[in-house]
């Protein structure tokens, strides 16, 4: 371990935080801890931060009966007030730019700013999706080049680029399966989903019109192959498997699972949320996968943006490729690229199952992801997976003596380390460690997921954490684990040093206040 030790590199915590908070201030702000009202409490509809031309014509006659009676009740601010409002708000956020963000399953890695710069080139940012094709060949080329990388990295036959996020990609993959079954004249309506799956998997299966049947996990956190085989009845359309799975473990039986599903006439959907662990090391196509979405906002580092936008292209096997939705970008033998839409679907896409979005998908994410991929290259992407897995195993082994690691005995983990709250003092659980991490200056890990482990703590450091950064995180986590074991009551009231203390989520759900209704600020 490093010179930093478990006693902490920050000052020891005092009793509950109130004393450290010091005297009350007249403004409510505390130094750089800034409070900020709502725009509706700051602005008025008459205030404006944009200089607009005057309208030099009255509305056309036909429009008169549709006109609004009054301007929308939207608060406006001048430019300096606007900059200040959002800058002050931004300071109430934790972000990957500030420190480790080890949310398991979310792959919060560094977001290179070159990606942002490239996405903002006017040739990409200021191009309309319905421009004549002759004026957008560079944009179509970006889609095709990224598609080619995704196909080669996964060893698959094709890729549908238009899905807007991971769950949308899941839907795309399952609809390809529905379409393939329809083409075979079979009405299979059950999808098998392991109980460790992301919530989106069963939700998507239901969204696509399937019934969900759950498959149990083994004692070592893997899909139970025997249980899966037993569940492969003739009504099974396919299986949705996450690999590496949500326990941070590779499914060693993946090929056997795929072979069994194929033998029973079904298809294999792989949730690619955890592709970062194996990119450049393993090709899912070699494991029998028929469809897998790739979260460009995870593995390929397009930013999360506080909840999107993401992008979820779906790679497809030979069996499913003909059913990919429109629009589709293809490269001709002469090297040029062209767009296949509804009118020219006969051009090799007559079995396309339809359309999932209005335009071409997340172009702004494609440019970022391609920029990232070209920066790393095939060699760098392989190193990404190796470092991501190395960092996770380092955290696992550095903490397994103070935190229960349910599957650590079975061998190494992949890109995320899984712990549970077993062994903590009576009344202490995962939530206390998570909120304690906030006081330590870190974003918490994913908590209470996967559901197969009680009090789960899923830690995904990613490859962009330095060893020194990991050592600081480990020191804090060890300290918190020991405090939870010792029954340190101050953990129950954590966080003490964040912009807000624990928030009343029950109140929020019982009496939902979803829009501002003019009530006075409470603080």
């Amino acid at each position: 371990m490093s010179g930093l030790n478990a006693a902490g590199w920050r000052p020891a915590m005092n009793d509950g935080g109130e004393a450290a908070a010091g005297p009350a201030t007249a403004s409510g702000d505390r130094g750089l801890m800034l409070e900020e009202p709502l725009i509706f409490e700051l602005g008025t509809p008459a205030k404006c931060g944009v200089d607009l031309d005057a309208a030099d014509r009255a509305p056309v006659q036909g429009l008169s009966r549709f006109l609004r009676k009054e301007a929308p009740a939207l608060a406006g601010l001048t430019e300096p007030e606007t900059v200040r409002h959002y800058t002050r708000l931004s300071r109430q956020n934790y972000a990957i730019d500030l420190g480790p963000f080890p949310l398991g399953s979310c792959t919060m890695k560094h977001n290179p700013r070159l990606n942002e710069k490239m996405a903002r080139l006017p040739g990409f940012a200021d191009v309309h999706p319905l421009q004549p094709q002759s004026t957008v060949t560079g944009a179509l080329e970006v889609i095709e080049q990224l598609a080619d990388w995704l196909i080669r990295l996964t060893g698959m036959a094709s890729v549908a680029m238009s899905p807007k996020a991971g769950a949308h990609g899941e839907l795309c993959g399952l609809l390809c399966i529905r379409a393939a079954l329809d083409a075979r004249g079979e009405a299979r309506d059950v999808v098998l989903v392991p109980e460790s799956a992301h919530g989106t998997n069963p939700a998507t299966a239901a969204f696509a019109g399937f019934k969900v049947r759950s498959i149990p996990a083994t004692a070592t956190g893997r899909v139970d192959l025997d249980a899966l085989k037993a569940a492969l009845t003739p009504d099974v359309a396919g299986v949705m498997i996450t690999n590496p799975n949500t326990c941070g473990l590779f499914e060693p039986d993946m090929k056997a699972i795929a072979d069994a599903v194929h033998a029973a006439g079904g298809y294999v959907y792989c949730d690619g949320a955890n592709f970062n662990a194996i990119v450049g090391k393993v090709r899912p196509g070699d494991l029998g996968v028929d469809a897998m979405h790739i979260n460009l906002h995870k593995t390929f580092s397009t930013p999360h943006g506080g909840g999107g936008p993401g992008a979820g292209p779906v790679v497809l096997s030979e069996a499913l490729a003909p059913f990919a939705p429109l629009p589709f970008v293809t490269r001709d033998v002469d090297g040029t690229v062209h767009l296949v839409e509804e009118e020219n679907r006969g051009d090799g896409h007559d079995q396309a199952f339809g359309r999932m979005v209005a335009f071409h998908g997340q172009m702004g994410m494609f440019t970022r992801a391609l920029t990232y991929i070209l920066s790393h290259g095939a060699d760098g992407l392989r190193q990404v997976a190796e470092d991501a897995v190395l960092n996770a195993n380092y955290v696992l082994r550095a903490c397994e003596d103070v935190l229960t690691a349910p599957f650590a005995a079975s061998g190494p983990c992949m890109h995320e380390a899984l712990f549970s709250d077993a062994g903590m003092a009576e009344g202490f659980s995962t939530l206390d460690v998570a909120k304690g991490l906030i006081d330590e200056g870190f974003h918490p890990m994913t908590v209470y997921f996967p559901l197969v482990v009680r009090g789960a703590m899923l830690i995904e450091p990613t490859e962009t954490e330095s060893k020194a950064g990991l050592d600081r995180f480990i020191a804090s986590l060890r300290s918190l684990a020991q405090r939870a074991q010792a029954g340190d009551d101050t953990l129950h009231s954590a966080p003490h040093f964040a912009p807000r203390r624990r928030l009343d989520e029950t109140l929020a759900a019982r009496k939902p206040v979803l829009v501002w209704k003019g009530d006075a600020p409470a603080s």
Binding site: Q92, L98, V127, G308, P412
Partner: protein, 456 residues
């Protein structure tokens, strides 16, 4: 590699702590046969920032960007001027590189923005509430139809022929798999929208009617009339807004009886971006809140009694309800919602009305000038910032020839509605505040010449 902090010595030290001889020992669970021996073959190695920039810039240079040509394209994506402040603020790392706000104590920035965004959308739409965003307008439209099904316990939707054809295609695609019945009316080249046909198609099984406002040809449907008919039959009115700037000028759909309003928020703050990422908007009546899809941000208090915000009503959502969730949506369009919200804050209510008035005035200047060309006529009784022109030629060909002359002169109905030759003479043209008199003059001159060429 510039994005990877570990040194070779650190990697070796860490393997020592782990007790592994090599990094490959960490991949033991991967069957030998599936492990690649080296980097994926046939792909280039890593590249410098300068080299990547050169490659991407060359690709960007092959596109004709909207700002470098007279530009008159709309049809669901609109080019508006986005103040520099918007792009600066959304690039602050605290917004750009944060995750979905699952830990509210350290995500109040994102959460307060979402609360403000929901309020802005609800006020713009005239609905009681709004959610924290969907992927885009087309997917929001489908989610609204599913939502109407849950509310009414019926499964038939009527789509106006004025609904954007891509939206209609998304709906028809998904409905084929869910078993929902869709009655999709054909677009017609009439001066007024198909309100009467929509009303005639409502029956006792109808869950909802879906009407775009303004519609895809730029016409303005009479929402109050359609709403009354839907209500009488126990169906909901879903209003689709692809150009939210219009709502600075025409009445909010919620004030005209729309039960659910969905939209594409791209116009404000987001930019064209060749189609994505965009921003799905969804607002509705308060009594439908528990049937809404997607994230909702709600107000609450913290342990000290201070006002704060959290994601709420998550028992509707996939991570809690799994297969019984109202939607499978997870990651949505958070950063686009921020951009939209900042742009709307810069405008304010009166600024929004002013922006809309300028758009309408520019569109009038465009329509007046283009309809002065012999043989070119206006279809619409009413329009906001886009309208349909009828040309004495196939509009597809005209658009192609205009592009050769450096003019991005609208969208042909032939491209929007393939397989409908009866619409072939229609050209959908749009003018926002970004269009200058000179742009209009160039467009008119080139269009006149192209039409002469076609006639000759």
């Amino acid at each position: 590699m510039r994005y990877l902090p570990l040194t070779p010595q650190e990697r070796a030290d860490m393997l020592g702590v782990i007790g592994a001889a090599s990094v490959d020992d960490l991949f033991v669970d991967v069957p030998e046969a599936a492990r690649l021996a080296g980097p994926v073959a046939g792909l280039p190695s890593h590249a410098s920032e300068m080299a990547v920039e050169r490659h991407m810039s060359a690709l960007a240079a092959r596109n004709l960007s909207a700002g470098t040509a007279p530009f008159f394209i709309g049809a669901g994506a609109y080019r508006h001027h986005v103040p520099a402040t918007v792009d600066h603020l959304i690039q602050r790392g605290e917004f750009l590189t944060a995750y979905t706000p699952y830990q509210p104590e350290i995500a109040q920035g994102t959460l307060q923005v979402l609360f403000e965004f929901q309020t802005q959308v609800a006020r713009l739409f005239g609905t009681d509430v709004a959610n924290a965003s969907m992927y885009d307008g087309s997917t929001a439209c489908w989610e609204a139809i599913l939502m109407a099904g849950r509310v009414t316990r019926r499964s038939r939707a009527v789509l106006s022929g004025g609904l954007h054809p891509h939206y209609a295609e998304v709906v028809r695609t998904l409905a084929r798999f869910t078993g929902d019945a869709i009655t999709s009316l054909d677009a017609q080249l009439t001066a007024a929208p198909d309100d009467a046909a929509v009303i005639a198609a409502i029956d006792a099984e109808t869950a909802c009617v879906v009407v775009q406002y303004p519609d895809v040809l730029g016409r303005i449907p009479d929402l109050a009339r359609i709403s009354a008919a839907a209500q009488a039959a126990g169906a909901l009115l879903i209003c689709v807004v692809t150009e939210p700037v219009a709502l600075g000028m025409i009445e909010a759909p919620g004030h005209l009886g729309a039960d659910i309003v969905v939209g594409e928020g791209q116009s404000l703050g987001v930019g064209l971006q060749f189609g994505g990422p965009y921003l799905g908007l969804l607002g509705c009546r308060e009594k439908f809140v528990r049937q809404m899809p997607g994230r909702l941000c709600g107000q609450t208090v913290d342990a000290d009694g201070k006002r704060g915000f959290v994601l709420t009503l998550s028992t509707r959502e996939q991570h809690i309800r799994r297969e019984k969730a109202t939607s499978n949506i997870c990651t949505n369009s958070g950063l686009c919602a921020l951009a939209f919200s900042i742009h709307l804050t810069l405008l304010g209510g009166e600024g929004m009305a002013q922006l809309a008035a300028v758009n309408h005035a520019r569109a009038q200047a465009m329509v007046d000038r283009l309809t002065a060309i012999p043989g070119v006529t206006l279809l619409n009784d009413a329009y906001f910032n886009e309208a349909t022109l009828l040309l004495p030629a196939d509009a597809r060909e005209v658009v192609r020839k205009l592009a050769e002359r450096g003019v991005l002169g609208g969208v042909s109905l032939g491209r929007l509605f393939p397989g409908h030759p009866e619409l072939a003479s229609g050209l959908l043209v749009t003018a926002t505040e970004t269009v200058t008199d000179e742009d209009i003059e160039v467009f008119a001159r080139e269009l006149a010449q192209v039409l002469e060429g076609v006639a000759a």
